[in-house]
Symmetry: C3
């Protein structure tokens, strides 16, 4: 069995921001030389999600409305966590949208359906962020 | 390390429908001949979820009420995605319920507790659907 | 490829309770002798979640408020599942918070960012619970 590890380095300009990292993950898979196996993709911070969905502009707005409806950013005072920080909502949004994606790897490619795209969703951005890509297989 | 890949082909008759695919996944595991490892199960479309829970009729209704409460199908006009399609709610429901399940494989069997069942939940059904089963191990 | 399996045995004193099991998972990894690979951590019951987030007291209260808002425990009569049991809300909360975590394993350690902690969240506690730790790699 072979394994390979890479950190993707991302920059976010807004508090909440979605970036499509499918290409970067596929590149990491190619660097690994692994043909058959699994790929784990997860953010190394706890206020972001990796999730797989369609990459479509209208839908991006719908995701934003959903997470703000279920775990609104404001008022900051509604959250017990917001003593020294103001990012409790980001921790909660990350719970709803999930942490990591595990993808199949077949013949050296992400084993995806037509519309599957790997999206990084930062809920407490304006920062440098790291995403772990771990590939195992042969 | 060995790997094995199979697509399950499902048909859904309703917009939202839950199917128990535990038996089909276990069959795929047996075809693989792999005894120890991990199994990834994920829908190849982006408007469905694979999740693991109890397979119980009352609970199925409760799941339906939950996803409709958090991300209602109608009115279609509430979603930015619904320009050419009417399935934005399905993309959102899939975020809440999750995309994939990763299962342990021990002595050739899904390493499950008593009540764990693998459920396919389509939120935009009336279609043919494919589910990827990827097994790695030895 | 090597594989290793361990069940963690937990006891919960309250209906809803969060326990940090990061240390126990790391111990299982060390027992396995595996240096590079992946670790699956999942509860063997279907009314709990394993999720990864910050382990902070205020946030724990915020998680509680979130899951009670989205899928309230009471009134029990609102759920179709609650015929012989009163734990439908626990099944739904588990859907929202997710079932399992898959973690990277690098140089014999959980490949985590600074704040990542593995949390077991029981939504129908006051019981003995088992959590599966499955490690594969080399």
């Amino acid at each position: 069995m072979k394994s390979f590890r890479k950190e993707l380095h991302l920059k976010t300009g807004k508090r909440r921001e979605i970036q499509n990292i499918t290409g970067q993950v596929q590149e990491a898979v190619e660097e690994s030389g692994i043909q058959e196996g699994m790929v784990l993709v997860n953010p190394m911070n706890v206020t972001s999600s990796i999730f797989i969905n369609d990459d479509e502009e209208g839908l991006e707005k719908d995701f934003e409305i959903l997470v703000e409806k279920l775990a609104p950013e404001r008022p900051y005072s509604q959250y017990h966590h917001n003593v020294f920080e103001k990012n409790a909502d980001a921790h909660l949004k990350r719970c709803i949208m999930g942490r990591e994606a595990v993808c199949g790897l077949t013949k050296g490619r992400l084993d995806f359906g037509t519309w599957e795209q790997i999206l990084y969703y930062d809920f407490d951005g304006k920062k440098d962020a790291k995403v772990l890509v771990k590939v195992i297989g042969e």
